[in-house]
């Protein structure tokens, strides 16, 4: 096979330059600043600073609260990722089989995609309102005295429920198009070989959906770690108290709200390392098992 190549060396560099400069300006430079700041305690106005070495990091690992936040972040991310993928997949498989009114059905399912995270948080506050929320009253009928922003578990429940609800449409769209791209011949062949729909799904459909699933897994983990910020912020309204928060929200609380630049930078570096590690694991461990057609 003949390989296409550029004649000059500088031409590809020139083409890459806009993208590279954007990455440098908006990623490498801020990341470097965060790394540098994480070793200092700095007055926000920039008048004074003290070099404190690894103190900003060490205090995080000494703090039981930070560890609890880390645990909650893990539980939160896993729940949101798993539930939104699982429910979206179920809906997509069912929607794929619908013949009459399929368009209306699909449009209704995708609708929620247009809702911004803070709006989702606001809807949660209405649905789960302590005094007159429709869902609060529904739970009360079953003897569950639901108290958002007062009870740790109830607040966590509301946060996860809303974040999942908000993410299902994105996953649904991708899964549905993934399902529709499976060749009809393959499905028909499977139908002859195997009568059980469940078994057909796991042995034929699911492996063929794996590339879509892997892509969605990555964007869902990113979503649950970072994009849920707006939802959490709207639910807690800047006032965490003893309620659950994620590591990302903690970075915001300490840095932007509390003006603790050093402490907040150290936390963002920790997050950066976590995401880096996660990405490596995903590509090394998971992607190897996937076959692209």
């Amino acid at each position: 096979m003949k390989r296409a190549a550029f004649d000059q060396k500088w031409f590809p560099v020139l083409l890459l330059l806009p993208q590279l400069s954007i990455i440098c300006l908006f990623f490498y430079w801020p990341a470097w600043q965060a790394l540098r700041s994480s070793f200092y305690l700095e007055d926000p106005f920039g008048f004074g600073s003290t070099f404190v070495g690894f103190e900003n990091y060490l205090r995080l690992f000494r703090s039981g609260e930070y560890m609890q936040t880390a645990w909650f972040t893990l539980v939160f991310s896993l729940s949101v990722t798993f539930l939104s993928l699982a429910i979206a997949l179920l809906l997509a498989v069912k929607a794929d089989g619908v013949l009459r009114g399929a368009k209306t059905y699909r449009t209704l399912l995708m609708w929620v995609y247009a809702v911004a995270p803070p709006v989702a948080g606001f809807l949660a506050l209405i649905l789960f309102n302590q005094r007159w929320g429709p869902l609060t009253e529904f739970f009360r009928a079953f003897g569950w005295d639901f108290r958002i922003r007062l009870d740790y578990f109830d607040t966590a429940f509301a946060m996860i429920a809303v974040s999942v609800w908000k993410q299902i449409p994105v996953n649904f769209i991708f899964f549905l198009s993934g399902l529709q791209s499976i060749p009809k011949a393959v499905r028909e062949a499977a139908l002859i070989d195997n009568r059980s729909a469940v078994s057909r799904f796991w042995t034929v459909t699911f492996p063929l959906l794996a590339p879509t699933g892997f892509f969605l897994l990555i964007i869902n983990i990113t979503y649950s770690l970072f994009d849920t910020f707006g939802t959490i912020d709207t639910i807690l309204r800047n006032n965490p108290g003893d309620q659950p928060i994620t590591l990302t929200y903690q970075v915001y609380l300490d840095g932007f709200r509390g003006q603790d630049i050093g402490g907040s930078s150290a936390q963002s570096v920790v997050l950066m390392v976590v995401v880096l590690a996660l990405t490596i694991v995903q590509f090394r461990m998971v992607e190897r098992r996937i076959h692209y057609t």
């Binding site: 007055d43 926000p44 922003r149 003893d242």
Partner: protein
Amino acid sequence: MQRHFILPAAATFALLGSTAMAQVEITWWHGMGGQLGEVVNEIATGFNESQDEYTITPVFRGSYEETLTAAIAAFRAGEQPNVVQVFDAGAATVIGAQGATIPVQDLLEQNGAGFDIEAYIPGVRYFYADTDGKMIGMPFNSSSPVLYYNETALEEAGVEVPQTYEDFEQIAPALRDAGYIPLVQTHLPWEMVENFHSRHDLPFATNDNGYEGAEGTEILIDSPEMAMHFTKLKEWLDAGLFGFYGTSWDDNQARFNDGEAAMYIGSSGDFGGLTAMDLPFEFGSSFLPYWESITPEGYQTFIGGASLFAMSGHSEEENAATAAFFEYLTSPEVQYMWHRETGYVPITEAAYEMAREDGHYDRFPAAETAIRQLSLQSGENTAGYRMGFYVQIRDVMNRELSRFLNGETDIEAALATIETEGNELLGRFSQTLSN
């Protein structure tokens, strides 16, 4: 950013008449949204119309926290506004960064506007002052925690407004039996901790409550008085004499607005909002209760809310404009208007006098409660507090005290945790200031 809006306006102005003197433009960043923002704009318009040398442009920058963060970022980029509104808990950050602001007292004196601390109401004088009592920030929207009561509920239960927590203990069962939640609060750190210390003249931090400087300042919250107070609150909560609905202000105040709670401890600044809401019952306000067992007579509280700081790095003319604006802002007429429209306290004695003569308090007795409370007897520990990273310290208080009220920890452990984590934060803050 703001300059972009002003420059074309200034250019147009210059083109229109070469004989007209160019006006000095200054900007004011604030965090007052909604109806409060409209009153802020009214003040700015009033100032611009009162003279023709200066123009002030108010800009709404979001919440208090967002306003402060924006101002700090702008300062580091050399684009800071002339005037910025900073909330009580952020005061230590701004005052600690000497060189970021010009003390209002210096600014007014240098520009011949004159300054007399005695002209201010006692409770507002020293909250935004430095160690020597020099005023650094100009108190703007000042409020203090007071007790609001539902008159119908109290009548139904046949009880009087409590002056002390001992009184409250006596009357609370009658209110409960009449079907009410006797009491709710709205802000644990502000009402139940900070002003609790002032009301009983108890020290809240070492180094003169932190006013002597950040270095070595330690919070004093793990005290028998605090333990007693919160143990009582928990007892009342369990007995149905007190309601707690989390750390959000609104979730708690809503119980009073709905007529479910008979009394609530809130801000004197709620007065305007409560009046506008047209509640189905008559309400009144009274002083923040105190424990007679701790002090035979209650002391004054101090102000919460926010103040205005003059940021440094501007020309002499612009600073003169800022001084002229502060002078206008503290004039009795403007203060009275602000007080009347919003419910925040007037900060000068002259404005208070004017409101009284105008019969404002005959029409709205509840509007006067906070001013009278701020003018009660003063003590060693009634000026307020000055602690850095205080936003985070308040978060720790909210977290631990909520856990205690929710029955997840005991009061000794909660107070000890607040003290340990608070002191760690204070230590870190003092390190940010040293070079």
